[in-house]
């Protein structure tokens, strides 16, 4: 995604919603401000002093973080696409997204982890692209080295992920370190798990540039993998998230259910069970599933029975034009047939009117 520079203002509200789950402020006026970091930083409610300080000192990093919001948000929506709660930030009132984060649920744990990972990713990438003054390619990756395939030269641009992690930790965790309560500890843990997840997928890539493409000459660099890999990894952690309670002296966690293992640094942790997200509930940050598309043949979370919470579904018959039977023709075009495709789309029914429904 190529977001124009001005587009940062479109995404900043989401960033700030994530930073400040309190939903009392509106961000509409931020569009009117210019590029001044003073105005931008000082007018963001909910930033603690350390964050404001970093914001003033590193406006270019703030820009990278703002641009990166779209990416981790899209990843969150991808992972939750078949769930009742689908990480939807398109609700006209952003506050619902923020309200999910107020609850110490496993959805909240995932959002904190993926957003923290997204910040690491955005900063590290901006670093490699030469967009940040305070960092560049990993300075340690120089000269020659050896691996199982022989010697190689470091070249290209190795991602400086340690810088990304360090800055993300300083900025994202600053607010949590102000408090010592259970929620702050949960957020610190999940933020850290997210940051570590990105580093897990840092890998060595090489180019063979000997004569005729032979690997007698190789240049290698370290590169972060596609953010999807981090998202998939954290999704597995979300599914295996561990419910915890604070220990006696308030310094850490212990498992809520003794039969389960203790959380490692890579696990996500949560305190509260999730709501069912079936009906619209402002307090819980739930949009409900009325109008959601469901899958009639699925047995998973997106099945109509589960997605619609037993309320039933409507079916509409849709036809659309698609490309099919594509072939490459020399030279040079890919030509396709146009096919009319007919399919049924199933959407969840709304809850029945409350005034005559029998309570369950």
């Amino acid at each position: 995604m190529n977001v124009p520079l001005g587009g940062i203002w479109l995404w900043l509200p989401l960033l700030l919603t994530w930073l400040t789950p309190e939903v009392s402020s509106s961000w509409w006026y931020m569009r009117a401000t210019g590029g001044s970091s003073r105005v931008m930083c000082d007018n963001v409610p909910g930033l603690v002093s350390r964050q404001r300080q970093l914001c003033h000192r590193h406006p270019d990093v703030m820009r990278a973080i703002g641009l990166g919001v779209a990416e981790w948000t899209a990843e969150c929506q991808h992972q939750f696409r078949q769930h009742r709660w689908n990480c939807n930030t398109l609700d006209r009132d952003h506050s619902l997204f923020g309200r999910v984060l107020l609850r110490s649920s496993r959805e909240s744990a995932f959002v904190y982890a993926i957003s923290s990972a997204g910040v690491v990713f955005a900063i590290t990438r901006a670093c490699s692209q030469g967009e940040l003054k305070s960092c560049s390619c990993d300075p340690k990756k120089k000269g020659s080295a050896k691996d199982s395939k022989g010697t190689f030269d470091w070249g290209g641009c190795s991602d400086n992920i340690d810088y990304g992690i360090k800055f993300a930790r300083a900025f994202v965790d600053a607010k949590e370190r102000k408090g010592k309560d259970a929620r702050a500890l949960m957020n610190l843990h999940n933020n850290r798990a997210g940051r570590k997840a990105v580093k897990r997928f840092l890998k060595q890539e090489c180019k063979c540039h000997g004569v005729s493409g032979s690997c007698t000459l190789r240049t290698c660099w370290l590169a972060m993998a596609d953010f999807r890999k981090t998202g998939d990894y954290l999704w597995r952690k979300y599914n295996g998230a561990i419910q915890v309670v604070m220990n006696q002296d308030g310094t850490g966690f212990t498992v809520a259910n003794k039969r389960f293992k203790k959380p490692t640094k890579n696990d996500l942790v949560y305190f509260e069970n999730s709501p069912d997200y079936c009906i619209r509930d402002r307090e819980a940050g739930s949009l409900g599933t009325a109008g959601r598309v469901c899958n009639l043949t699925s047995r998973g979370m997106d099945s109509c029975e589960v997605m619609c919470c037993g309320r039933g579904y409507d079916t509409s018959h849709v036809t659309r034009m698609t490309k099919c039977e594509c072939k490459f023709h020399w030279c040079c075009a890919v030509r396709c047939q146009d096919c009319l495709e007919a399919l049924d789309v199933h959407t969840c029914k709304a809850p029945k009117s409350a005034d005559w429904a029998t309570p369950t």
Partner: protein, 314 residues
């Protein structure tokens, strides 16, 4: 793919509009030979490896990208499908494949190589057909082995598609004309006497010598060439003290003909490379100052600079 609900309740009218659109698309599809049809707008799929490097661009194939400038289309995507990020890098890496192209080992060699080095400009990457890769590899790797090369990792065939959306010049069921019977010339001796081709070969070789030959013998399946007098034009991996006792090998060339060696009374232009401890001959030309092309080569050699990878990549 997301499912919309826009057609709900107006199926009849929507179908009519869509059919009209289909007619327009089909008309556009047959408009011109160079028809860069956008069948799917998915520019993101071009980004592989360093997926957040600069966005792909459609650029002219330069005249001095000799591997591909006459391939049959005029524009290419940069970065290419081998993750070469600059045109200088493309040229440097492509230059070592030009000599193979001149060997004519398979009619599809250029189309195959250029589909990766200089991919056509479409909305998404189109890879060469797996069968084309396998045909080129099976025909050309034996020739490459005469020069001490093997089919490289970056061209492994099992990564290429088997479907219809892939690049090939001819349909897969066309039978190729079988190769002419008879003994084939040793590939290093099968050279076109053109100044441009000799320059390309010089750049692709590690060393080059002007020399007289004392004798040619068979040894372990190779032709062993013992020099009499030699003058280095390009030393490459040859050390000065090694030059004295230098012996060259025509790899796997014990029994194939090499017409340049029929008469040893001439001076020769010899090009080669070092593989392990052997110096392999990669090209041989009679040193013929009267030949127009050879004279042209000697003139050009003084000024010509071969592309070097180091300056490109760092």
């Amino acid at each position: 793919m997301g499912v919309g609900r826009s057609a709900r309740g107006r199926g009849g009218a929507a179908s009519g509009v869509l059919l009209a659109l289909a007619a327009a698309l089909l008309a556009a599809g047959s408009a011109s030979e160079y028809d860069y049809v956008s069948f799917q707008s998915d520019i993101g799929s071009y980004q592989s490896g360093r997926f957040y490097t600069k966005p792909p661009q459609c650029v002219d194939i330069p005249v001095d990208l000799r591997l591909c400038h006459n391939v049959g289309y005029k524009k290419m995507v940069l970065p290419n499908l081998l993750e070469h990020e600059t045109m200088a890098e493309v040229k440097q890496q492509a230059s070592s494949w030009v000599p193979l192209l001149n060997k004519n080992c398979h009619m599809g060699t250029q189309v195959f190589l250029c589909s990766l080095f200089a991919p056509v400009c479409l909305d998404r990457p189109i890879y060469p057909c797996r069968w084309l890769c396998e045909a080129v590899r099976d025909s050309c790797e034996p020739v490459m082995q005469f020069f001490g090369f093997y089919w490289p990792e970056m061209l492994k065939c099992d990564k290429f598609p088997e479907g219809d959306v892939c690049i090939a010049m001819t349909p897969p069921n066309t039978t190729e004309a079988s190769k002419p019977q008879g003994t084939t010339v040793c590939p290093p001796c099968d050279n076109e006497l053109k100044s441009e081709a000799i320059i390309e070969h010089l750049c692709a070789s590690e060393f080059a010598l002007r020399m007289k030959i004392k004798e040619v013998k068979k040894e372990n399946g190779d032709k062993k060439i013992v020099p009499k007098k030699k003058k280095p034009l390009k030393l490459g991996p040859i050390k000065k003290k090694e030059l004295k006792r230098l012996v060259l090998f025509l790899k796997n060339g014990a029994d194939c003909p090499c017409h340049q060696l029929d008469n040893l009374s001439h001076n020769f232009l010899i090009m080669g490379r070092k593989v392990k401890s052997q110096y392999l001959l990669t090209a041989i030309h009679k040193w013929d100052k009267k030949n127009k092309e050879f004279k042209n080569f000697m003139k050009r050699m003084k000024n010509h600079e071969c592309p070097t990878f180091q300056s490109v990549f760092k």
